[in-house]
């Protein structure tokens, strides 16, 4: 489904080129739950951005269902992000002047996958699924951190994505709310959706079936990745 083939990433800063990622190879299938681990600043979020097409690698390729997303046109990437990928950010970004249900419906505004009525029905179902029923007409300002993150999760699921990218989804949550989000991610992966979760929390990573461990190759801070089963953490 999603393949990273010898992905390299380098940044240029003040005329100096710094290598971040060097030769990352990963193959993610439907139903896989990947935890991307590594110390802070190692390039976990950068790798996630490259996987979902928000960023481009300096070298190598990223393929989704056999098609390169590195060379894909802007419109194809927009469609991919809208319909095939779901996003859960560390901070639960939302439109603060739109109600909970309107926030959940946001991806459908940019999609023709569902009609307005179908999207609404799906959103109502997801509100119940993530456990924030009764809050659909509230503004996000009136929600707790955990409720907000669940709202964001519902938004990520609205168009039934094939891959969910989660960047430290439990980073700002207490244990109870963290577990709820992690349970939901597990449930999605069990239903056939691939999940890629960046985290440095080993408890969160324990929910994953696969681990993508980023480590420094040498003293130049260049990072490569090692894929392994959860038990290898």
């Amino acid at each position: 489904m999603l393949e990273l083939l010898d992905v390299h990433k380098a940044f240029s800063l003040e005329g100096k080129t710094t290598n971040i990622l060097s030769g990352v190879n990963v193959h993610i299938d439907a139903g896989d739950f990947y935890a991307v681990l590594g110390p802070s600043g190692v390039g976990k979020s950068t790798l996630l951005s490259i996987m979902c097409g928000l960023d481009k690698p300096s070298a190598g390729d990223v393929r989704f269902n056999g098609q390169s997303i590195v060379t894909a046109k802007s419109q194809q990437l927009v469609r991919l992000r809208n319909q095939a990928f779901g996003f859960v950010f560390q901070s639960p970004y939302h439109l603060n002047y739109r109600t909970v249900i309107e926030n959940i419906l946001l991806p459908s505004i940019y999609s023709k996958k569902y009609s307005r009525a179908q999207a609404l029905e799906k959103a109502k179902y997801l509100i119940q699924y993530v456990g924030i029923d009764g809050l659909e007409n509230r503004l996000p300002a009136n929600l707790s951190g955990g409720e907000l993150q669940r709202m964001v999760f519902a938004r990520a699921l609205l168009l039934e994505p094939e891959v969910i990218f989660a960047d430290e989804p439990t980073g700002s949550l207490d244990k109870v709310n963290s577990d709820k989000i992690l349970d939901l991610l597990t449930e999605q992966s069990q239903q056939g959706c691939a999940v890629v979760m960046v985290t440095h929390d080993h408890h969160a990573a324990s929910y994953a079936t696969q681990v993508l461990n980023l480590y420094k190759v040498d003293d130049s801070n260049t990072v490569s990745a090692k894929v392994g089963e959860r038990e290898s953490i």
Binding site: S45, S49, R81, N82, Y93, L106, P107, Y110
Partner: protein, 405 residues
């Protein structure tokens, strides 16, 4: 963009404006002032032109007037009979021609009442060319003209002052007397501001036969006040070319001496229109500059909005909004602000036009042109100054916008 997308983006934009209504209202003020000034300035310009046009219409746009500049106090002399006859020969046969002599400061008396008047010794066609109509009685007949009979037609105000009986009353002035056979209907004087055209107050004239003038040898002394020529139709080219020909021949005749002026109301009106057009263009330029300043204000506020909404834009891009859609939203935002300014400015402009007309009695006419180009310019301003911020928003990097991602 389809209708449902437009509806959603419009609602989104209205919410964004509502959240920052004060700032949005302030940013629309530049456009409002521009549109208001455009409406007021063009309305003043059009009103002034309309007033001037009406004045020239009173003079007759199909007429030409050769007016004498000679008088007792100058070295110049008026137009003589021989010259009048020569000029007449140059005119097309269809043209109506008349001449008259004016004497101001007459004191007509009747039944112990007296008033002030101008004596006009006019040839037969004069009343016709000046489009004079009668309140009562008749005009001087051709036989009155030939015989130099002591009949006269008086202006409306003189009748009001002297209270005459038609065909019976004999009014006297300057050692002469005449029987009143007609009274003119009330008429505005042929007076145009800022020109040298002689002013005749038709309500205070006493029209006498040409022959009745006290100096029988008047023509040889060159005392004609004016030769009036009326062309059969208002053919602008004919009138203007005739005016040019007359001026050229008179320059030759008088060897450059300024004894006369050839006045073509049509020519004057055209000049007036030209100067009004220049005035309007200057006024429009000022208003457009104001609109441009307003546009810069809108651009500034749009850039501020974008910097405040960075994460929101990043989120939209991340969940599938196309850059085009982001452009549409911010363009719509800029357009709504500028059209809001247009509405405010339009209302203010209309109120000001109404106020100037009611309270200051200015010659002002609501400019339909301004009402059309005001919104058009506002639309262009919104598009022009909204485009850069919108493009900038759409080309931002969602990763940087979301920072932590």
């Amino acid at each position: 963009m389809n209708l449902s997308e437009l509806k959603y983006d419009l609602y989104d934009t209205s919410l964004a404006i509502k959240r920052r209504w004060f700032r949005s209202a302030l940013s629309s003020l530049g456009v409002a002032i521009g549109v208001a000034s455009l409406i007021v300035m063009l309305s003043i310009s059009e009103g002034t032109l309309e007033k001037t046009t009406q004045q020239y219409h009173h003079l007759g746009l199909n007429t030409l007037r050769i007016q004498s500049l000679g008088n007792d106090n100058t070295f110049g002399r008026g137009i003589s009979e021989a010259e009048f006859i020569d000029i007449r020969k140059q005119l097309p046969s269809m043209a109506k021609v008349s001449a008259f002599i004016v004497q101001d400061n007459a004191k007509p008396e009747f039944n112990g009442r007296s008033t002030s008047a101008s004596l006009v010794y006019a040839s037969q066609q004069w009343a016709n060319i000046e489009k004079l109509s009668l309140e009562k009685g008749r005009f001087l007949s051709p036989s009155d003209q030939v015989s130099g009979a002591s009949f006269c037609v008086i202006g409306y105000q003189i009748d009001q002052s002297l209270n005459i009986d038609l065909y019976k009353s004999v009014i006297s002035f300057n050692d002469y007397s005449c029987t009143v056979v007609g009274v003119l209907a009330q008429k505005e004087g042929a007076f145009v501001e800022n020109t040298d055209i002689h002013f005749i107050d038709f309500n205070r004239v006493i029209i006498l036969p040409f022959k009745l003038h006290p100096q029988d040898n008047r023509f040889t002394l060159g005392q004609l006040s004016e030769i009036s020529i009326e062309m059969p139709e208002t053919d602008a080219d004919n009138i203007l070319s005739l005016s040019r020909e007359l001026k050229e021949s008179l320059v030759k005749r008088y060897q450059g001496l300024l004894n006369y002026q050839v006045v073509s109301p049509l020519e004057l009106l055209n000049k007036e229109k030209e100067s009004q057009l220049s005035f309007s263009l200057i006024m429009m330029s000022i208003s457009v500059m104001t609109l441009l300043v307003g546009g810069i204000g809108i651009m500034n506020i749009m850039l501020t909005h974008i910097s405040e909404q960075t994460r929101e834009i990043g989120l939209r891009l991340a969940v599938g909004a196309s850059p085009q859609r982001i452009v549409n939203v911010f363009l719509l935002h800029a357009l709504i602000i500028s059209m809001l300014g247009c509405f405010l400015g339009g209302s203010l402009g209309l109120l000001m036009v109404l106020g100037f007309e009611l309270f200051l009695d200015w010659p002002i006419k609501l400019s339909v042109f301004a009402l059309v180009i005001g919104p058009l310019f506002s639309l262009i301003t919104g598009l022009l100054f909204g485009l850069y911020p919108a493009l900038r928003a759409s080309q931002m990097d969602p990763i940087i916008m979301l920072k932590e991602f």
